[in-house]
Symmetry: C2
Subunit: 407 residues, 2 copies
């Protein structure tokens, strides 16, 4: 019997309780794990809930209970989620979380405390919602060097971009629709500005390359500047779709990571990952490309990932094997974004003649002119050179309406 | 230090050695596993190979070596692969295999022998080549009831169908091309008749439902009867693609599994899984749909999966936890194929009036007539009813040119 305490009885916390109770039989049959929820910490009471009697308002009830093997942190936010996680690990309890903010900010410290105390700190639900990606990165793909990771990591922005592409909706209208459907929060900043995806890509990069970069240290660009015209041009140029991509790759000994909208070619399996779904493409030196696809958010999908961590701890109780190993990245572990090389999509006010004032025709892969605008895709070039080209357009008084990197 | 013996130094065996040697550092850094290849069993010598000195021609050298922790069976075929695997397990050695034939036929017995001897029998590489799917099914998804599994499990047939779709190639020409590229064997029967996919889907069904069905006990239909006309009509009807699908689902308490070509709707993530890639869509009650995508065959991808099993054993040496648990299916565990319900695509010689002699217009979702043929898609109906409709056409002397099930 494994005893679990859940911190926070909101969406993820109550979903976790639901998965454990509903699927008790299949969990036991498949893994042998017999899981009991012993405490639920929340400020509120839940009269009438089947879990009513398990509610406590005092975190010390959980810390002091020697029977509690696993603490599920489902509070969200940095504090007290971090503090409670730390205290639980120091008390020799395993901790499972869905909190990407805490993992991206305090993961190194918490993993180290877990190791010292012979317990584990797991966070499958922090990236890709219900999709198994953290444990596959840690174990199933461990025999590969990871060449690159490119992920559609945020369901809200993917829903908005899908609406813009399929129904010609404007960004503003698509955002309102996402909010009405409960896919976007009242304050959608963290999603649409890419901060959520930034937290997730630094976690994946840490698993791949052993160094945790602060999400604040990477280039992070959201989708607020994407215009319906870009979506149309991208499709017309060469059937590209536009997706918000968290990307990480190794450049020599350094890690290059960033979040930005990208043009995705039709042959790329990420091209058709639509609506609130997430897809994570992992380029491996032995296996080649593998993609993990599924629901990147939502109560039960996220809870499913939380419970997979609970089970993983339950079946290996008493060992800290199977924990992530990384250190905090130092400045010289991080490759400058200016060195990143890819093709670039430009949309300028003008025609192909304006384009040719800055780009030699040899440096352009394809172009299209319509309604006084010209969209084109360059050959691969560094971010630095692409910025220089932007300046050249400005000097020639040609307005650059968009620049989007091509994956 | 973990000592490994490899049985068979062909494509998978030599790939396994290559992955272990090339990526020794990353494996050790990520998992702590320090793996040494101690013996390689093959009938041939390999003069000049870096592994020359490890070659033995006598299996007893391996069985008798107490230092050998893991035996990698990469021989292929039923015998002596099964016999050697059994002997190794009985000698207290863990066994890893890529051999779907042996797993599908003898898996229940070998798992039971492994358990009795406190060791493990793992087979990640037996399904989906390098794609992590076996271990995710066993652990990451264990908190879900599996509603259904639908997989593109055979790279050869997917390559052929992609050629037929993208280039209008005939089945015969596409098969020859696949053979020229080394994707299809000289005798392609096992691939194109669906036998390979049948072995794989029964393994996945056993992981999902705890019962191993003999591949011979399921309906198995290959792609040899797919005509270029079907590919064109399917696309024109509603942008369907045609893929060879291994499918398993629970019908009440029984398991329904079969292999057949299927029409795949554009919204299904399997729709665009092309060329030699595999994609496995797993419908979970909590997580929803998850898809695992990647290279389903090839030397290094398959070896990558083999080595992931080796690592999994290495990091948990001395335990039999994390093993598949299933029993052999009995006759009443298997749902009859006649009960399977789906929409059906028919192509008949004639026009829509011929169609209407058998199908009421209400029972048809969409239809198209061209060049003296009519293709249409029915509303969902049982296999039994679809067969009855085929007979009705025959009685009315209308030739049914194709019937393909819709996923």
């Amino acid at each position: 019997m494994i005893n679990v305490a859940i911190l926070g009885f909101g969406v993820v916390g109550s979903g976790t309780a639901e998965v454990i109770e509903k699927n008790r039989d299949v969990i036991k049959a498949k893994t042998g794990a017999d899981i009991r929820i012993k405490h639920i910490l929340d400020l509120r009471d839940f009269p009438g809930s089947p879990f009513e009697t398990l509610i406590t308002h005092d975190f010390n009830d959980i810390i002091a209970d020697k029977d509690v093997d696993i603490v599920v942190e489902a509070m969200g936010g940095a504090h007290p989620a971090y503090d409670f996680s730390k205290a639980a690990l120091e008390a020799g309890k395993n901790v499972v979380t869905s909190n990407k903010l805490v993992v991206a900010q305090f993961g190194t410290e918490l993993l180290s405390i877990a190791e010292k105390n012979g317990v584990r700190y797991l966070f499958e639900a922090s990236v890709g919602g219900g999709i198994p990606i953290i444990k596959p990165m840690m174990s199933d793909l461990a025999q590969n060097n990871i060449d690159a990771i490119s992920g559609i990591l945020n369901g809200t922005t993917n829903y908005i971009l899908t609406q813009m592409s399929e129904n010609g909706t404007s960004f503003e209208a698509a955002l309102k629709e996402a909010q009405a459907k409960g896919y976007a929060e009242a304050d959608p900043t963290s999603d649409i500005e890419g901060h959520d995806a930034a937290r997730k890509i630094v976690i994946l990069a840490a698993l791949a390359y052993g160094k945790l970069i602060s999400p604040d240290a990477i280039h992070c660009e959201g989708i607020t500047k994407i215009d319906s015209r870009d979506v149309t041009f991208a499709e017309e140029l060469e059937n590209y779709s536009i997706k918000l991509i968290g990307h990480a790759e190794k450049v020599g000994d350094r890690i290059l990571a960033f979040v930005a909208p990208r043009l995705i070619a039709a042959a790329n399996p990420l091209h058709d990952v639509s609506d609130v779904f997430n897809g994570i493409l992992v380029g491996c030196d032995m296996l080649g490309d593998a993609m993990f696809y599924g629901r990147g958010a939502g109560k039960l999908p996220t809870a499913s990932a939380v419970v997979s961590d609970v089970i993983d701890i339950a079946v290996k109780l008493g060992t800290s094997a199977g924990s992530a190993k990384w250190t905090d990245a130092k400045e010289n572990d991080i490759a400058p974004f200016a060195d990143h090389v890819c093709a670039h999509y430009f949309r300028i006010a003008g025609c192909s003649k304006c384009m040719e004032k800055v780009f030699a025709s040899d440096d352009v892969k394809c172009s299209i002119t319509a309604d006084g605008e010209c969209a084109f895709i360059t050959k691969p070039m560094t971010e630095k050179d692409a910025l220089a080209k932007e300046k050249e357009f400005a000097e020639k008084e040609i307005k650059v309406l968009s620049r989007i990197r091509v994956l």
